[in-house]
């Protein structure tokens, strides 16, 4: 009896979490007139007859006319370049902070950590100014370079590198391996858990990010998916929920895919990183 009520409560809470997504997908598959019903339907049904009436025409519209097709590719490109580049910059620095002794190392590390305390909104405008001064305003580089390192990720990677037994590296050093060889051949292969957590959270963050593209981009041809979706909401088509929900589905589906495939790593990772970048 008690167990049954726990399951019932859980099912209700899960329904609140998930039904909005089901409704999003259903709306995106409906013919325009079919979304305006007194009793909303979680299935794409004809408004009058109640027969099955799914369509992909909303997707065709937002992909072509709404510019979401191009935006999807832009987002994919940005993530494909930015996420590995950022991982490399962060991992190299983290390795040096963890293992190599050089003058000023610990002071430098503490100063870097201090940088995490500044709220993102304080940095937004001057960062945009720097991006303009470097000639990267309204360009793909302007999306990538101002995001290409993360102090939090350096911190997480360093903590993990410190937990790898130093004897492994010392043995390789004595065998005459160089620092970089050790980094690539010994340290990175042993660090897949933390590397995947950092990669996934950074992908999720940049795939979803709205604010930076919003301030740094003007050219609609460069819009990323969240920005194109926001523009769709703001356009005269914004009243047409079937278009907007098709766009939202396009933004959400890849992320749900990543969540399903990497669920264990993500949920473990979240417990100590949050989802910020």
């Amino acid at each position: 009896m008690r167990r049954a009520s726990i399951y019932l409560a859980l099912v209700l809470l899960v329904a609140v979490s998930v039904v909005p997504f089901l409704w999003m997908v259903a709306t995106s598959l409906k013919h325009g007139q079919d979304i305006y019903t007194k009793v909303p339907s979680l299935l794409p049904l004809d408004r009058r007859t109640g027969a099955w009436a799914a369509t992909l025409e909303n997707y065709a519209y937002v992909l072509q006319v709404g510019g979401l097709g191009r935006a999807f590719l832009n987002s994919a490109w940005v993530c494909l370049v930015l996420v590995p580049a950022k991982l490399l910059v962060d991992a190299l620095a983290a390795y040096a902070f963890a293992r190599i002794r050089f003058p000023g190392r610990d002071t430098l590390f503490v100063v870097l950590l201090g940088g995490m305390m500044v709220p993102a909104v304080t940095l937004l405008i001057p960062r945009l100014h720097v991006t303009q001064a470097l000639g990267m305003f309204d360009s793909g580089w302007g999306l990538i370079l101002p995001n290409v390192a993360s102090v939090l990720d350096i911190f997480l990677l360093r903590q993990f590198f410190l937990s790898i037994p130093a004897e492994l590296e010392e043995a390789a050093l004595i065998d005459g391996a160089g620092r970089m060889q050790i980094f690539w051949r010994v340290v990175l292969p042993l660090s897949t858990p933390v590397l995947s957590v950092v990669t996934i959270t950074s992908f999720l963050f940049h795939w979803n990010d709205l604010v930076w593209p919003l301030v740094v981009l003007n050219d609609p041809d460069l819009y990323t998916l969240p920005l194109a979706l926001q523009q769709l909401v703001a356009s005269p088509d914004g009243g047409r929920a079937y278009y907007v929900m098709a766009g939202a589905t396009l933004a959400v589906l890849p992320v749900i895919g990543v969540l399903l495939v990497f669920q264990r790593r993500i949920l473990q990772g979240i417990a100590f990183t949050g989802l910020k970048s």
Binding site: I6, L10, L13, V16, S17, W23, M24, T27, V89, L92, A93, A96, A98, I100, R101, F102, P103, R105, D106, T107, F109, V110, L112, G115, V118, P119, A120, V121, T122, L123, L124, I125, P126, R127, H129, V130, L145, V148, A149, A166, E170, M180, L204, L210, V211, Q230, A234, P236, G239, G247, A248, A251, V252, V255, I256, L259, Q263, L267, I270, A271
Partner: protein, 321 residues
């Protein structure tokens, strides 16, 4: 400041069997170390340290991002706080943000705790429940805003249909000033998955022996929750409250999307009921090109965050005493 945990690597301890490395090898190490951190340090200087310092400088100027900034001293700060002709909605945005924080953070924490307790109580399917409850968190702000605009639709939205099932009359959520903040806070609680996961980790950390001892002493489930579980989760709750407040004070993307629409420009909803602090800042920066004033706003927010966080620490210390 460098705590021992930060300072030393295991290589630092001089073992008796280890030969000292040759000086030129050590010098090469210095070089390699600097080379490896160089990209990150360059990024830090260009995109973090310089922006942070220049934001402070520009907050004392009149600046539109294109023409050179003009020094105005404390005028931006004074105007923000006292000139309600120039900034008629500044205090409104502060009120909206505090109101939102006061509703959203407790609502999020309670929802997350309930979810975590329930997920923790079941054996079968707990992974699937956890995953589904986590779904709203990984969703882009833009999509969340778009979805909830449609859910809150006064005539065809799902929220009102569900309420009408229970005999509660539907509301025009996003167009009724008193309902805007609660509606936004509900969306934030809908996205409580991260807090739920962190609570779950906290629950796993409570030794079962303590729970069993309480049960043997005759404590019922509610008593155990109040007297044993909640006290042991206090550090978790405190951490989530502090980080939750800091995030809530900066809420932006959701409101920006939810109130962007055909015909009306973004103004933060009916009677500025959803004009949060950062939305207000954004509008002054990017609609009115008042970059200097926007920088000043960001430092006022920084101070607000520090004050609220300090109050929370103080409150906890008093409670503990």
């Amino acid at each position: 400041m460098a705590a021992p945990a930060l300072a030393d690597t295991p290589t630092a301890a001089p073992g008796p069997r280890r030969r000292p490395r040759r000086p030129d090898a050590r010098r090469r190490d210095h070089l390699v170390g600097w080379l490896l951190v160089a990209p990150a340090v360059a990024y830090f200087l260009v995109f973090l340290l310089y922006p942070a310092l220049s934001a402070l400088y520009y907050s004392f100027t009149d600046w539109d991002l294109r023409t050179p900034a003009r020094w105005v001293g404390l005028a931006n700060y004074a105007d923000l706080l006292f000139d309600d002709v120039k900034y008629p909605h500044f205090w409104k945005s502060v009120r909206v943000t505090l109101q939102y924080t006061l509703i959203a953070v407790p609502l999020t924490l309670v929802t997350a705790l309930v979810q975590a307790l329930l997920v923790n109580a079941v054996r079968r399917g707990s992974n699937a429940f956890r995953l589904l409850l986590f779904l709203p968190v990984v969703t882009a702000e833009a999509a969340v805003g778009a979805i909830w605009r449609w859910l809150y639709d006064p005539r065809y939205g799902l929220v009102n249909s569900v309420l009408e099932l229970f005999g509660i009359p539907g509301q025009n959520w996003l167009n009724t000033p008193e309902l805007v903040v609660p509606a936004l806070a509900f969306v934030s609680a809908w996205q409580c998955g991260i807090s739920m996961i962190i609570y779950l980790a906290g629950l796993k950390g409570i030794p079962t022996a303590i729970i069993e001892a309480a049960t043997i002493d005759g404590a019922g489930p509610l008593q155990r929750l109040r007297r044993v579980v909640m006290p042991m989760l206090r550090p978790t709750t405190f951490y989530l409250a502090v980080t939750g407040v800091i995030a809530a004070l900066q809420v932006f993307g959701l409101v920006y999307v939810i109130f962007s629409g055909a015909g009306r420009s973004v103004t933060g909803g009916p009677e500025q009921a959803g004009l949060t602090y950062v939305l207000h800042l954004y509008l002054f920066a990017f609609r009115y090109d008042a970059m200097g004033a926007a920088c000043a706003m960001s430092f006022v927010l920084l101070v607000l965050i520090v004050i609220v966080t300090a109050l929370q620490f103080r409150f906890v210390r008093q409670e503990a005493a």
